[in-house]
Amino acid sequence: MTDSKYFTTTKKGEIFELKAELNSDKKEKKKEAVKKVIASMTVGKDVSALFPDVVNCMQTDNLELKKLVYLYLMNYAKSQPDMAIMAVNTFVKDCEDPNPLIRALAVRTMGCIRVDKITEYLCEPLRKCLKDEDPYVRKTAAVCVAKLHDINAQLVEDQGFLDTLKDLISDSNPMVVANAVAALSEIAESHPSSNLLDLNPQSINKLLTALNECTEWGQIFILDCLANYTPKDDREAQSICERVTPRLSHANSAVVLSAVKVLMKFMEMLSKDLDYYGTLLKKLAPPLVTLLSAEPELQYVALRNINLIVQKRPEILKHEMKVFFVKYNDPIYVKLEKLDIMIRLASQANIAQVLAELKEYATEVDVDFVRKAVRAIGRCAIKVEQSAERCVSTLLDLIQTKVNYVVQEAIVVIKDIFRKYPNKYESVIATLCENLDSLDEPEARAAMIWIVGEYAERIDNADELLESFLEGFHDESTQVQLQLLTAIVKLFLKKPTETQELVQQVLSLATQDSDNPDLRDRGYIYWRLLSTDPVAAKEVVLAEKPLISEETDLIEPTLLDELICYIGTLASVYHKPPSAFVEGGRGVVHKSLPPRTASNESTESPETAPAGAPSGEQPDVIPSQGDLLGDLLNLDLGPPVSGPPLATSSVQMGAVDLLGGGLDSLIGAPNFVTPPAATAPANLGAPMGSGLSDLFDLTSGVGALSGSYVAPKAIWLPAMKAKGLEILGTFTRQVGSISMDLQLTNKALQVMTDFAIQFNRNSFGLAPAAPLQVHAPLSPNQTVELSLPLSTVGSVMKMEPLNNLQVAVKNNIDVFYFSTLYPLHILFVEDGKMDRQVFLATWKDIPNENEAQFQIRDCPLNAEAVSSRLQSSNIFTVAKRTVEGQDMLYQSLKLTNGIWVLAELRIQPGNPSFTVSCP
């Protein structure tokens, strides 16, 4: 007796008969009938018509029958929402059952019924189950929250289930913790912005404890969650790594790969000199190798990930070349991946072995694989220079086999070898020419034509060869046509006497008889060139070509770094960031590797840098002045003041607007040179605040007297946004001149040239005083530092915020735009010391509403120190007096556009708070 009996049908009609059986009095018959219904369901038959009859069987003590009915309900409740309500009572009752298995079953099934009306009834039982005494029920309930969230997210938030779920992360049972993490991760995926998994050292610790005790699947959830955490320093990173490493010995490959992800990510923070770093590297290799002895499907995913890992850290697997050797009965998808990794690992040390293998593969049966193997030989030649000769001779051997597709592939890669090592292997051209007739693929034909054109002077019958191609010009693909055109022009320039006719023929074919615009235009260009200035034509067409670079298919470093964060996911299989394929772009958060921190500066991570520091991003709002001036004297002794310090009553929004307007008109009228101090704009407070905070940020050593404060370089243009060009920069002022210090890094794979820079109009008329001079082309991964002098004579336009500067940088790839905030103090001129009398007079003239007051806390400097420090940044002390035990400093400064700013600093000795009044 087997279940296949449930599939037999009778003449009367199955549904009819089942209906009768379901309503039978006999328990046994009922159960059999439900089984038949389930059997039909599994093969995709529609048995939804039996809904009421099946639901009637739900009230039963028989657990199997109950489960079967639940199975049915989950499948069909959605199609019969009204009927599904009938089941609610039983569910609610089951949620109170003394047997935890039944309680869990009920809450689990209820969550699977995707009917709005039912979900309302689900909330109360779910709340109870989340607090159930039995961990089995709790862990089932945790998953149920995720289900409910999928059906009705709002409801879950309103009912506070998310908080309960977060509490479960601290549950005593590891299985509950794992399920809570899984549920939260799934919910978080649909709400990328919500900070559901708020990871901190405490919660991390709990997760790491649960990691050791929960099931293998739970371990995957926890590891994936850990990977999103950024440790605060390298010590924390190391301690997490130490606790994750045992997972590398797990039998479940998904656990292993998730652990690898965590380690690869956190390793980024460890110093390479650390002993532990080396140990970790060694520990990573064996588990990766073991993954390759698993089932082919697992191997495939593992190989795709290893491909990334090898690109990021080739040292891990450099000795393991042999495990990537292809077995002849590997599935094709495994073979192709292995081949790719073999090339990546190829080095001078192992090239002989690799070549022998590749040659072996080139005689296999599978055409795709053979082609790739031949190509791989070419790539080896380009990658390992010492092996080039052997590679070429191997390729020649393969050409001798005369297997058509092998020959064609070989010719394509030999072309690349010529481009890498010109004038070295041209002796083989004769052999290549012998196979001219057998080439029928466009790529191979184009490659061959390129070779003939490039080396026309060494091939006696080059004209004949090219002429033979010309006969069927219009039947060729565009690739071949373009190549043929160029080759014949090259030939003509090299041997003008014999080939005049030929070149005219091809030019007329290309320009008159072709409807392909590319071909036609290229034809015209050559034609004009040749007819107006043959010398120039020679220089253009026969110009020296740059060598092709080593590896052409490497993933760009920034993308690679992102993908490393996605090890083990679909993104890693496709080698694309999730944003490129996740549906609707939802849940896409760019991940990036944590920055490496040296052990001694571990306390200051980028996140805690002063908020006012110039950064690449343009702030949306002008921060409140009080806030910024609070930062102003905040020396780097402690963390920044978090709450805004006292903003005194004299700061009024009205005044700000007024002054904003006033300043606007001032800047608009450049002739108006000596304004009264009344113009000291409150509105300057914001940018100035940041400038001043930087000024006070000076530590004793850093150029305290020699020049004005220089902010550390910040990333202005991330490589991700600029096709691989990364720009870091800062502004400096030195002896009267302002300059912009830039650091350009090429993170793309191609060489960058032709740099130029331009500023948009800005508040102070900043403009480059000289062109951007990058002398040599910037090759991949190269960095260049330069200083660009600035003048303040450019055209003026008020920006918001005032010190915003929009910059455009151009190179041979594209034009990139970014904006940055410059610190105002670079605009403080050297002759900013006002005469005491004038100061007094102007101070009195300033209307009250132009006055602004700020308090600066936690600044333990005395008046002299402050004074000298400010002076180094061209803020001058005009007068000093002591009133009621407080030091009063009167300061003045002048901006490049002639505006004066006056300030009074009140310093109370012993009390590290300054009061600044800026009129």
């Binding site: 296949s4 089984k35 089995y136 099931t215 073991t290 042999k322 495990v323 022998a356």
Partner: protein, 418 residues
């Protein structure tokens, strides 16, 4: 997480579907069928297939495709591992995993699948636990159930599920207490034309069959644990103890399980127990080719090599072969061009050989590719890596169990290029 599962046979029929979230139309499988058509052989169907709204992840085992549908970013290894676990569970429940068996037990299959995943999250995948929840069908039970009306479904929460040892059920009782361990090693090797080793590695496992009463705590130690530098453990093994003392300490699951798998890499010298002498030649002019292979023992530590089977995929141009073996039987399938020679035992005094001619398509040029020879063999009572168990001790229970250890070496992917 895992949305749905479809089981598809090699002729492209969906014979079972299961959904853990909303129902996904089976039309999604059309993308799979397309990929199946593109791949010439079932083995070559790529395991990850994107479709506009879903991803299909599949494994191919026992001539059945297990296709999982996922909708969000889920670790593919997670899904594939799970699918393999499903197959293992079916095999464990029904002895074999095949289309007819699954169809015969469709309700149990359905119940088991429901128990394994909840909302796409794995719930219970340990077969010890599953068997307590859903009892595997036996003829006896079916009869009893029909008479008494009892069920296959356990109505108690499996005790192991939440304990510290989730893999073991409580209340285990045996009259004969026994623990058997099989050390099985497979050699994967590629040997080149001239007989030298290109790459060789050993995949070893220790499979256990433990039938012990109560909660036994076992320790297993090795004579030469240094061999094991790349290991994967069953969750029951205490990792700390291994790290510090190189001893396997564990509370075993009940019944059959894989305690440990290990990998002895190509960098260690691997002994190759057999060699193949071959002479396969085609001539341009003649439509006859010569074929001769001899198999002999190499480094076998004095043990007998048995169960030897030689297979080789001959080039397409070979029409037929006329061969004479010195021992065993051979077949050649002119359609698939597969040559298979069941050798049996190797007698070192009289080496088995297979000689004869191949007839080729008249007039065709000689084949480009050389056939690769695939070898299977077994050596009893030998672990080729040299791994040896030192002793097995039991704590926590009073009785004296019967202990046994067996060694075996097998060929894994053992290939000889010609």
């Amino acid at each position: 997480m895992i949305h749905s599962l479809f089981l598809i046979n090699s002729s492209g029929d969906i014979f079972l579907e299961k959904h853990w979230k909303s129902v996904v139309s089976r039309s999604v499988c059309d993308y799979f069928f397309e990929a199946q058509e593109r791949a010439t052989e079932a083995e070559n169907v790529p395991p990850v297939i994107p479709t506009p709204h879903h991803y299909l992840l599949s494994v191919y085992r026992h001539k059945i495709f297990f296709v999982a549908v996922i909708q969000t970013e889920v670790p593919p290894l997670f899904v594939i591992e799970f699918l393999h676990r499903v197959v293992d569970t079916f095999q464990d429940y029904f002895g074999v995993c095949s289309e007819p068996v699954i169809k015969d037990n469709v309700v149990v299959v359905y119940e088991v699948l429901e128990e394994m995943l909840d909302n796409g999250f794995p719930l219970a995948t340990e077969s010890n636990i599953l068997k307590e929840l859903i009892k595997p069908p036996t003829i006896l039970r079916t009869v009893v159930n029909t008479i008494t009306g009892s069920t296959n479904v356990g109505d108690q929460l499996p005790t192991g599920q939440l304990s510290v040892v989730p893999w073991r059920r409580t209340g285990v009782k045996y009259t004969n207490n026994e623990a058997y361990f099989d050390v099985i090693e497979e050699i994967d090797a590629i040997i080149d034309k001239s007989g030298s080793t290109i790459t060789a590695e050993i995949q070893g496992v220790i499979d256990a069959c433990v039938k012990l009463t109560g909660m036994p705590d076992l320790t297993l130690s090795f004579m030469n644990p240094r061999l094991l530098d790349d290991v994967s453990f069953h969750p029951c093994v205490r990792f700390k103890r291994w790290e510090s003392e190189r001893i396997l300490s564990f509370i075993p699951p009940d019944g059959n399980f894989r305690l440990l798998s290990y990998h002895v890499s190509a960098q260690n010298l691997v002994a190759i127990p057999v060699y193949v002498k071959h002479n396969i030649s085609f001539r341009d002019s003649s439509s006859l080719g010569r074929f001769e292979i001899t198999v002999g023992p190499k480094q076998t530590m004095g043990k007998i090599v048995e169960g030897v089977i030689v297979t080789s995929q001959m080039p397409k141009g070979v029409l037929n072969m006329s061969l004479t073996p010195s021992q065993g039987t051979h077949t050649f399938d002119p359609v698939t061009k597969m040559l298979s020679w069941d050798v049996g035992k190797i007698n070192p005094q009289k080496l088995p050989s297979l000689k004869g001619t191949m007839s080729l398509q008249a007039g065709a040029s000689k084949p480009d590719e050389n056939p690769t020879i695939n070898l299977q063999f077994k050596i009893q009572q030998l672990a080729i890596s040299g791994l040896k168990v030192n002793r097995l001790d039991m704590y926590g229970e009073k009785y004296k169990p019967f202990k046994g250890i067996k060694y075996m070496t097998k060929a894994g992917k053992f290939q000889v290029r010609t």
